[in-house]
C-alpha cells in the first residue's frame, strides 16, 4: 500500500506543479462563484437556472480534469521513459496502475472539493440556507462517477497509445452515457430483434454514469437521497471501477516495455 500511495502522491504533485489545469480550474471557480452568488430580481426561477448552469460547469470541468489527467499518465511515462527506473524497482504492474488510478482520482477529488466548496459558500451566502449534506451527497456521488471514468480512461491509455485519441474517445463515451444512457432501453423497444436484445444487453452492461447525477438535490433543495441508495451506488461504482482496473491490469501485466 505504501508503494501505491507514494505513486498516487506523485500524480497529485504533478497536477499541482504542471499548472496545466490552473486556467480551467480558476475559470470554473470564478464562474461558479460569481454565478452562484448573484441574485436577479429575487426570482427563484432565475436563481435555480444559474445554479443549474454552475453545476453543469462543475460537471464538465470535473470530466475534463479526470480524463485529461488520466489519459496522459501512462503514455507520458512511456514517452519520457520515467517508467523504466520506476519499474526497475520492486513495483508490480498492478501497484503501478493502482497508484496511477488513486492519484488521478484523488487529484480529481481535490478539484471537486474546491469547486463544490466555492459554489456552496457563494450560493449559501445568497440564499442564507446551508444544505451541506445535499452538497456532500452530490459531491460524493459525482466523485464516484469520476472514479469509473478514471478507471475507464486508464484502461484506454493502455490500449490507445496517443493520449489525445484516448482522451477524445473517453470523453465522447462518458458524455454519451451521461446524455443518452438512460434512454437506450426506450430506443431498444422500437427496434426489431436481434438488435433489440443487443441494445438491451448493452444497456445493462453499460456503467450508468447518470445514476450519480443528483444535481437536482442542490438546484431544487430536494430531500436527501436515502443513505442506503448512496451505499448501493458506491458498490455499483466500486464494481465498475474494479472491472476496468482489472481489465487494464490484464492488458498491461505482461506488455513489453521497450
Amino acid at each position: 500500500m505504501n508503494t501505491v500511495w507514494a505513486l498516487a502522491k506523485v500524480v497529485v504533485l504533478e497536477m499541482v506543479r504542471r499548472k496545466d489545469f490552473y486556467v480551467l480550474f480558476i475559470l470554473t471557480v470564478l464562474l461558479t462563484g460569481t454565478a452562484g452568488s448573484v441574485n436577479f430580481f429575487n426570482d427563484p426561477g432565475v436563481v435555480r437556472y444559474l445554479k443549474e448552469l454552475c453545476l453543469l460547469l462543475i460537471w464538465a470541468s470535473g470530466l475534463v480534469i479526470a480524463i485529461t489527467c488520466t489519459a496522459r499518465q501512462i503514455p507520458a511515462e512511456r514517452e519520457s521513459r520515467t517508467i523504466f527506473p520506476l519499474l526497475a524497482k520492486p513495483v508490480t504492474r498492478w501497484q503501478f496502475l493502482a497508484g496511477k488510478f488513486f492519484g488521478c482520482w484523488l487529484a480529481t477529488g481535490l478539484a471537486l472539493v474546491l469547486f463544490y466548496a466555492f459554489f456552496c459558500v457563494a450560493s449559501g451566502t445568497r440564499e442564507h440556507h446551508w444544505p451541506v449534506l445535499n452538497y456532500l451527497q452530490a459531491a460524493w456521488l459525482h466523485w464516484l462517477m469520476l472514479g469509473i471514468v478514471v478507471a475507464f480512461t486508464l484502461l484506454g491509455s493502455i490500449v490507445f497509445a496517443a493520449p489525445s485519441s484516448n482522451g477524445t474517445i473517453c470523453f465522447v463515451c462518458s458524455a454519451g452515457i451521461l446524455l443518452l444512457g438512460r434512454h437506450l432501453n426506450k430506443v431498444a423497444l422500437s427496434l426489431a430483434e436481434p438488435l433489440q436484445s443487443l441494445l438491451y444487453a448493452f444497456y445493462y452492461l453499460l456503467p450508468h454514469l447518470e445514476f450519480f447525477d443528483v444535481r437536482e438535490l442542490i438546484i431544487h433543495n430536494w430531500a436527501l437521497v436515502p443513505w442506503g441508495v448512496v451505499a448501493l451506488a458506491t458498490l455499483y461504482a466500486a464494481a465498475y471501477t474494479a472491472f476496468f482496473l482489472g481489465a487494464a491490469w490484464l492488458v498491461f501485466r505482461r506488455r513489453p516495455l521497450n
Binding site: 519520457s80 523504466f84 520506476l86 520492486p90 516495455l257
Partner: protein, 259 residues
C-alpha cells in the same frame, strides 16, 4: 538446452541467464519477428564487475530489459539472486542506472529519492540518512531542493546514480553509465564502481568505452547480433588473443567487414 554450454555454477552467482531468447514483433515488410537475443547463457558472480559489450543493436539493451522485468523473455530464464526476474522481489536488491536521465522532472532530488525509498520500504529515519549520504556522494547536496528540470545534464546523471545507490544494492545494473558525462563525471563514476567492488557489490554494466571497461572490469561478455561471441576474464581474453580489448572487440564483430 545443452548444460555443458553454461559457465560453471557457483553458489555465489548473482545473476544467471540461461538460454535467453528475445523476439520482437517487427513492422518491417516481410518479417514478422526480429530476434534480439539468441540463446544467451551468462553467469555473473558475486563481487564481480562485469562488462556487457557489443555494438549498437547487439542485444545488450534487450537483455537488460529482461533482467529488469520490462520485457518477458520469449524463451529461457533469467535469475537475480536465484529469483526469476519476473518476480518484483528480484529487484529489491538491484540498483539501476538508465543510459539517459528518465526521472520526474517536476520533483526535486530529495522528493524523487523519497519516492523511491518508499518503494523499497526503507524506514523513514533510515530514508533521511540514506538520502543525505547518496546526495553527498554524488555531490548534489547543495541542489537537493531544486526541481530536477533545472539541473544540468551532468547533475541529472548524478541524480540517477544517487537513486541507483539509494537502497544500498548488492547488484548494480548500469546502462552506459558514463555516456554524456564530462571527464570529471566519468572519473567519479569509475571511482564509485571501484568503491562498490571493494564493498563486495556486483556491477553489471554496458558501455562503448572499451578503455574504461578494460581498466575496471573483471570479466566481459561480447555480444553481436544477439549471440554471445566471447565471455571470460579480461586478462585471460587479452592474453589468449594477444590483442587489446578494442582490437578483440572489432575482430569478434567482424569489423572491418571482409570483401
Amino acid at each position: 538446452m545443452d548444460s555443458s554450454l553454461l559457465p560453471e555454477v557457483s553458489l555465489d552467482t548473482t545473476l544467471s541467464i540461461e538460454g535467453l531468447r528475445v523476439e520482437y514483433r517487427s513492422r518491417d515488410l516481410g518479417e514478422t519477428t526480429k530476434v534480439a537475443v539468441k540463446g544467451l547463457n551468462l553467469r555473473v558472480g558475486q563481487g564481480e564487475v562485469f562488462g556487457f559489450l557489443g555494438p549498437n543493436g547487439a542485444g545488450k539493451t534487450s537483455t537488460m530489459n529482461v533482467l529488469l522485468g520490462f520485457v518477458p523473455p520469449t524463451s529461457g530464464t533469467a535469475r537475480i539472486f536465484g529469483v526469476d526476474v519476473h518476480e518484483p522481489i528480484a529487484r529489491q536488491r538491484i540498483g539501476y542506472l538508465p543510459e539517459q536521465t528518465y526521472y520526474y522532472k517536476f520533483l526535486n532530488a530529495e522528493e524523487l529519492l523519497r519516492l523511491y525509498a518508499s518503494i523499497f520500504q526503507i524506514p523513514k529515519a533510515e530514508t533521511e540518512r540514506r538520502i543525505d549520504a547518496v546526495l553527498k556522494l554524488v555531490e548534489l547536496d547543495h541542489a537537493r531542493k531544486r526541481q530536477i528540470k533545472t539541473y544540468s545534464k551532468g547533475m541529472q546523471q548524478r541524480v540517477g546514480l544517487a537513486q541507483a545507490l539509494l537502497n544500498n544494492p548488492d547488484l548494480l545494473i548500469l546502462d552506459e553509465p558514463t555516456s554524456g558525462l564530462d571527464p570529471i563525471g566519468r572519473m567519479k563514476v569509475r571511482e564509485i564502481i571501484q568503491r562498490l567492488k571493494g564493498e563486495g557489490k556486483t556491477v553489471f554494466f554496458s558501455s562503448h568505452e572499451l578503455g574504461e571497461v578494460e581498466a575496471i572490469c573483471d570479466r566481459v561478455a561480447i555480444l553481436h547480433q544477439g549471440e554471445l561471441k566471447t565471455e571470460g576474464r579480461v586478462s585471460d581474453l587479452l592474453r589468449e588473443h594477444g590483442l587489446n580489448l578494442e582490437q578483440l572487440f572489432l575482430k569478434l564483430i567482424g569489423y572491418p567487414p571482409q570483401a
